[in-house]
Symmetry: D3
Subunit: 221 residues, 6 copies
């Protein structure tokens, strides 16, 4: 009980691996994922600011850093489970939320409970920072799935994750940072030589088109 | 779709590790656990038969082999989560059950669906075979937790799991196979020299006493 | 000494990896392999029964579950060692058998020794259950080697294992369960997109032809 | 070249393990460490604010998040190398700094270079945020070394790291957050039962005394 | 065919782990073991030379480097298998030898076959270099087993290996290098603080006494 | 203090992995690499001798065995760091050398210090043995990078390492052993079927041409 339990739980996040039960060439812990998402959110926020938006940095860092903390309770089970319908997913999310609430009341000293209830709640809201978190989370997932596809992982699942990530990112296409990502980063990602390179480029083009975005990848020319 | 999906899913069970997010000296996959539980159930059934009981071997093997198959959907999250109440656990169990049902309808050829609905349902019922499964499952869990305690794992969790496993086994103390386990196997388990040996022996004695069982461990004399 | 030694040895099977000394993308323990073989045998038996055969389930489960137990003594060294002739292989098998016998006499309580001598003897005999075990063992090996080929493992060894597995399965082509495997499962296995897909399909066709089996794979059309 | 290189490099930090070449029960990547340090800094900042200090959260998060980024160049080689004198250490630090500078000029787009020169420079300065970083970095190192000692790691190195970490933390004993750590967290850390518990308590007492701090650990009473 | 096969096989030795099927805190590959044995033999040879013996360095290095090469065929299965009698062991050794012979004839170019038949034959003969190899092999095994005991490995096996190693070393107690090891190295090994330290010291004293060696360990005083 | 520290440090080399921070399908420890380099040097020396050269075997084995020992101090950080110029590399080499010197003075008994100063100094000098070491070191690196390319590693780094290794080997093209390698071993390496086979063959041809070497690979015909 107390903050020691909380500090100890951080290390548990090093031992929870994303997308369990599937063959992967590289494993990613929830701790490492949270780090990368925060670093990516930092860059996306920088682009927003460069384009004249005002960024609430404190809020952005809090959201990014804590967005998967509740996975210490039931692990990473939200990655596309083929056999779960939206209702099942929501029930799982509720279970997770109840446990987080319970944890705070048991372990966090009273004077800090309100702060942590706020910090550990779902961060993907309608604020600019909530949107940047949504994008950053999917950019890292896109890199993770890309890493598997690029190495020749035969599981179709990773192509699905790649598509789903890109689609979600495109839901925020009005953001300057998303436009920067599409124009400057995605083409570099896709321009190397690797197994399935053409297939992935085609998929990306199609998804971009569905979102009415014109993008010619560097290597097409 | 089809049995190929089912065969492939067996390999996923090799990649789901029990009790995720906790430091362990040894990892145990759900596939390996299922193997050990079936082998242990085989021995317990043998003892029952030796003591005059009739064992439905087909039922026993089916129950043991399949008892954790549904973990391919949401992994192993039923190990004592400190912050989950019975209601939460039940909701998780329901989610798992729904996914199993969905999976069978999608992947198993129609002519075998009834058989697999039966095979993949909860096996720990009131039959002798259901009871043996309950015991075998906990004997393996007891060995797993013992393996951690014996190597000096400082997580208190494993002592809790040891206790809970032994308690559950003792709920079936009327079984000849449980009596054999208590008289012939548990003392050997506890008789080696290892860190916390005395503490574990004391805990075991206390739990046995709570279940009105007189057992003097070999090394006490 | 006693069943505790036997229970402990089950965990050793979790630490013996198949086909040691060769690069693999995925490792498979003997424990996990035994689990998968038993599950596959369960399905094959179901197909036999569906086709009017009588299956001795107790015998089938015993054979499948225990068929590699003796590897606790000298590990998995029977996978095609290029430099061993049949005589060497037989000598190794004899060594293993002697150790199993020795183990039973030392560790298994007298009242159960006969049962375990029977359980741990070679199970691949001329009974229906012995044949199903032979097939199930090779189906899992075929999936293991396929998993490597599909991920781009450059070791030629895995293509050899794939071929050898399929050939052995075809030695039992009179079984309904083998026919089911060839007609319903193998085509799905080969129909995905992966490195060397065409090569593997060609190899499979050739082996089928050698066994006088006409099979057109789904994707050919 | 471009931000894609930078994003990719984040994943390299998942593959650099701290304190290489020494036996450890648990490995910690630089990515995971950075995550934990940022979370710890978040809590320490919260305590400072609760005690009336003004915290520049943007600065604090930037410092914590980026403090070990430059390890992508020469890895984690600053953990106490017994055979390096201060001069050697400084030369290594210079090498690292030169490479970071070189990296930014090559990979980061010009419009963001100034920002990243600032973000990736040494963050442990004389500001409140710089001090919190120094403390948070050592709190995580103290937990890491404690985790090894507690599990019975025979390498003396981890006791040295524990001592060095605690000493450095105490250099900031005027901070409210350090006082909170000493009064509320350290006693919980030391109060469990584990190998060398008494020895570690004694070492901690001695170091506290050297810094003129009176602290009676919970379990002494 | 050809030296490429031989070069490739070196990498297989990186994937064969010593003492398979037993829980270990640290794994050691045959490649790493061969390296350490050669380095230890180098030192032991240096001590011999310092004491006036003439060392055939070419022979010593060849013996040490190649002494476990034949494990590419059937792996490391000679570590004390409890259930194997001397006859079984000898049969296994013969199998290994036959395969080595077969390998050389198939893969090594004719002009070098004689050299490699010589290099890959059993090196533990009656020459000074053969004796140094016997000692160096056991010194590394003693360090490996010591590493497990010191970390609290509960498997009794490692104490047996420690004893067997020390006994074998003492069979060569007339060597100056063995005397140096006993007087200058073993006491340092045993002088640290670790679980079972006293037990191990006592065992070592007893074995030394059985070989009529008087040795007082540093920490006794 | 004493040789015990030195013996212990050998095991640290088992825990230092080459080329840290990059995705690899296979990890290689410095200990295993040193073993392989020594075995390769043994063969190259054999070819030299067969071609009439006199080989100082003692010197060759010492050089090969010890050439990376100093990596126990700052690990393997010399693999092409893109952002380091030659000056930085030299400064790192100096740091390493200073630590080695310091280590010998602290740990090696005085009577053996001169020998170990000699053994642990840079071995790649102008002698035949120094040249063989340079070649053997790169042959193993070439195999390591080839192993990654062949399995489809998308990191461009490994193609660079392959090229750099082959170029360095060709700097010694006057050696009979290098000519043997080019004529008899490299073609076998490149003749298998694998991802990027053609690309790698083309690269190899180009590098050979740059060094004025005519070599037609087996499979070209």
């Amino acid at each position: 009980m107390g903050m020691h339990e909380y500090f100890k739980s951080l290390s548990d996040l090093e031992k929870i691996y994303r997308c369990p039960g599937k063959f992967k060439f590289e494993e990613h812990s929830v701790a490492a994922h949270s780090f990368k998402v925060t670093k990516i959110a930092q860059f996306l926020g920088t682009v927003e600011e460069y384009n004249g938006q005002e960024v609430d940095w404190k809020a952005l860092y809090e959201k990014a850093l804590n967005h998967d903390y509740s996975e210490i309770f039931i692990g990473d089970i939200k990655t596309p489970v083929k056999y779960a319908d939206p209702d099942l997913r929501e029930r799982l999310a509720n279970v997770e939320e109840s446990m987080t609430k319970h944890f705070i009341e048991e372990e966090i000293p009273e004077e800090f409970q309100a702060i942590y209830h706020d910090r550990l709640k779902e961060g993907k809201d309608e604020t600019l920072e909530g949107k940047i978190l949504s994008v950053a989370d999917k950019v890292d997932l896109l890199y993770e799935s890309f890493g598997e596809i690029q190495k020749g992982n035969p599981e179709d699942l990773f192509t699905q994750i790649y598509q789903e990530s890109l689609s979600t990112i495109l839901n925020f296409k009005e953001l300057a940072s998303v436009q920067y990502f599409l124009a400057e980063i995605l083409p570099d990602l896709l321009s190397g030589e690797f197994t399935n390179q053409t297939a992935l480029e085609r998929i990306s083009q199609r998804i971009l088109k569905e979102h009415d975005i014109e993008q010619t990848f560097a290597m097409d020319s």
